[in-house]
Amino acid sequence: MIQLDRMLEVLHGGHVEFIMIGGMAARAHGSARITEDLDVVYSRSDENVPRLVRALAPLQPYLRGAPPGLPFEWSVKSVKAGLNFTLVTSLGSLDILGEVVGGGRYEDLIKHSESVVAFGHPTNVVSLPWLIHLKRSAGRLRDFDAIAELELLRDMDRSKM
């Protein structure tokens, strides 16, 4: 479960550079599916990683599904040593991805994103064609239904043109 409004406030308040992808981006593009987590691609620049770490630290991020007590430290060093993290925080589940299959890194994907106002914050959301592309590239069986829905949304959008 994610408290999206508060999570966006935290990320924007910390000036974190990120792009919304996954189910929440699908929702923004019109999907009828309810999603319980937030997936973002974050910039791994030397400026942004410390911002990300500072912003999320009060939310006590921990590796989702991992047994309690692992020696996991939420720090710039940990984020730089890793790439993609599936986290549980006090505001809900958050996946922070340094790179995604088919979309690359933040700097690659930002060109294929649009800025929308979400809960009062201008937020980068991956475009619908690229969201479909990312889901296809991920190659997960459970995404077939979601891809079909996104393609219908894309076709509805085109038919308006």
Binding site: I2, D5, H29, M156
Partner: protein
């Protein structure tokens, strides 16, 4: 560049600027017939020419790549089962409203989960 794509791009730029073909042509240093032929899909301009015309309309021509639509029979098989009325309803809302609706559903789902758990505890279920 394909004739139909160039026509769509130039027509869109000119109409957004609300200028005539003649005025646009003059601003770009060309003739009205050149603009007319491109917009009618009768000419395929170079990228440079189209960029110049679009610039004269006050816009910048940017090229980018988009994923090509792929027809996958497996994905196609899922489509008839999707309730499009829900999608149409969602498309009538702003993106912000769609995300807010998601948050509201999560809030109520959480409340129901809590209530169910409390009921089970009260009934002495594990």
């Amino acid at each position: 560049m394909s004739q139909s794509l160039a026509a769509a791009v130039l027509t869109d730029a000119r109409r957004r600027r609300v200028v005539s073909q003649r005025d646009l042509a003059e601003a770009a240093g060309t003739s009205q017939s050149v603009v007319g032929r491109i917009e009618a899909g009768l000419a395929s301009p170079s990228v440079d020419t189209l960029a110049r015309l679009v610039h004269a309309a006050g816009f910048e021509l940017k090229l980018s790549i988009e994923p090509a639509p792929v027809v996958d029979p497996v994905i196609e098989a899922y489509k008839p089962g999707i309730d499009q009325t829900l999608l149409i309803e969602n498309l009538r809302r702003s993106m912000d409203a769609r995300l807010s609706a998601n948050a509201e559903v999560l809030y109520f789902t959480d409340e129901f989960r809590r209530a169910l758990k409390a009921k089970r505890v009260a009934e002495g279920e594990p």
